[in-house]
Symmetry: C2
Amino acid sequence: MNNRLEKYAELIVKSGCNLQKDQILFISSPIGIVEFTRMVAKVAYEAGAKKVVTNFYDDQLSRYAYDYCDISVFENCEEWIALRQNSYAERNAAFLTLLSNDPDIMKGIDQKKVIASSVASHKACKTFYDALDFGKCVWCIAGVASEPWATKVFPELEPKEASEKLMNAILDVCRITNDPIAEWQKHKENFAQRKKWLNSQKFKELHYTASNGTNLIIGLCDMGLWEGGGQKAADGRYFFPNIPTEEIFTTPHRLKTQGIVYSALPLVHNGSRVEDFWIRFEDGRAIDFDAKSGKDVLEGIIKTDENSAYLGECALVPYSSPIRQSGFLFLETLYDENASCHLALGKGFPDCYENGYELNNEKLIEAGVNDSATHVDFMIGTQDLNIDGIKEDGSTLAIFKDGNWAF
Amino acid sequence: MNNRLEKYAELIVKSGCNLQKDQILFISSPIGIVEFTRMVAKVAYEAGAKKVVTNFYDDQLSRYAYDYCDISVFENCEEWIALRQNSYAERNAAFLTLLSNDPDIMKGIDQKKVIASSVASHKACKTFYDALDFGKCVWCIAGVASEPWATKVFPELEPKEASEKLMNAILDVCRITNDPIAEWQKHKENFAQRKKWLNSQKFKELHYTASNGTNLIIGLCDMGLWEGGGQKAADGRYFFPNIPTEEIFTTPHRLKTQGIVYSALPLVHNGSRVEDFWIRFEDGRAIDFDAKSGKDVLEGIIKTDENSAYLGECALVPYSSPIRQSGFLFLETLYDENASCHLALGKGFPDCYENGYELNNEKLIEAGVNDSATHVDFMIGTQDLNIDGIKEDGSTLAIFKDGNWAF
């Protein structure tokens, strides 16, 4: 196990972040996985990092804050936090986020506080968020098993056993073989072929249908691009923002979605869960929705700010993806989004628009690329999902048939 | 055990920090003791804290930084760190430091980096340090057992057992009985009586002698004060900066110490150890020194900055103190300094000078109160230590005889 963990740490630093000599690595890490965080730091130093800065946090303490603090505490982002994020972004740090959250720890918290915090942070840390969004800084998100998380995924197991099983599942779906760096190079090349085909077709719209009632037309941007695998930073450096990743995605036109879509998997958001939900769109806007449970959480997401009711992402993931095939619901979007075709409410991706890195937010919004303080994925890929691409001339080509790639 | 830990957390928040409603509590905590840190946070929120901010750190990661980073990294304090410390100080936060260090983890690190870091931090975070030194903000330091620490204190025990034994020893010496808050009130009153006597005598000098060769005259400040137990913040609020505390101390005149002093216990500093050492003073300045081991560490302390070769503290602790009587060397100054009479090189205490809070650093230096980026205690209290107080007219009174209070 330790050997695989070391290879995983190396993949994260060298492929995920593509860390360069003399670069600063900024790690956000839950306290419970410190041994892995140390492993990553050591790999980074050995790769020549100038320094490794670690921002440790504890979900239980965050939970206390949500329970006890007045909403005014969340409405202001501390200036030192903004300075920390913005100044490392200005110095081209690599930003690594390690995830290991107890999926239930935020159950029942006041969503208004979550939204206030997200809006305040987005405003105060604009330099930082823009650096990530516009490719100035590389970033990577990866997960590490912990007992509080693993016992929710495998409630039938003892904590230690559950944690080992989850960590092995993570290493499997992250393709941690003998030479994961080479493995991810191959993975990148596979993505390249599919992206090339999708980009060459210049689809105007996508038409989603499934037996659960989904019947949705998503309008694409004229100069939209399909991305996936990793991405190029503005300096040309290739990095993988998500480990694992199985999706090919684009940023849809924010005003051109019509119809209804049904969820295929639960949505876990800040520790709360939304189950069996649907959303109806009109001219891009989520105008109606319902959920069997967690409707208030969904409502909180949709109403975060003025643009959070619009889509920022549509992503294609075959039902045959190793994550879906593992049969596990990881209760963490990083994994679960790679199990299924999904959409995201909120912020769109400048790198999914031609020369998007060179446009400011106003220009991007005009072009149809959404902007918001939030970006929340939700899974819609059933085993019988069909997606047809519709071209300018009205002709159609199958992209997905029965949940998998049709080409 | 859990019940005693809860009482300990309550003592720290309510007596140590004397936390007020709507105050911010800033906790520095090693990651390994998160369960206790959460306990403290909960007590603080229930006492009405506006918010609890936690700065988690990991010694192993700090060690990597010392090993791998260039000294230039330590010569500059990050602006966001200065802003964090200074802005919470401006908002009258209470600062709690929880200690749980592996005493050996910094063994062999480059002392130049330690000094550079300390000097840079002291300069950048001046508002914060002044707020602590001049009683604007309350602060408290307390310890919590962890396996890496406990196994160094009790190397013959299994980690878990060692940690439990150390935690129990900590709770014992911190007087965690059924009602520790009342216990500390009594403790405070005992201190008050001794301080009253010492302050009424107006000693000009202290004369230390012991069979190990110690023969030292320490000159006191004309308007110096003996303090101990807790202290009053500028707003009149009483707090206990150290839990435990057994010492009565003053800030000696920085230029009036003459003679030689021998150590009684090892000095553990940033994870390094100095053993069997002596220091010779002339006109207050440490002009010569030697140690059986760790001489470079001692040299690093003495040469931190221009004033670190002068004394900032002399403290009286009877050989009968519960910490000395426990027979344990805790390998942590917070405890070990309360086992023994000690001196400190470096910064003096404005609150040990009449109206010291109202003077600036320049005035204090003039008055004999030392200023430095460092403050390092070292233990000199042997079982046969005698201390005589010498008055202006040359008459003497015994303060300590054979290691214990003579009055």
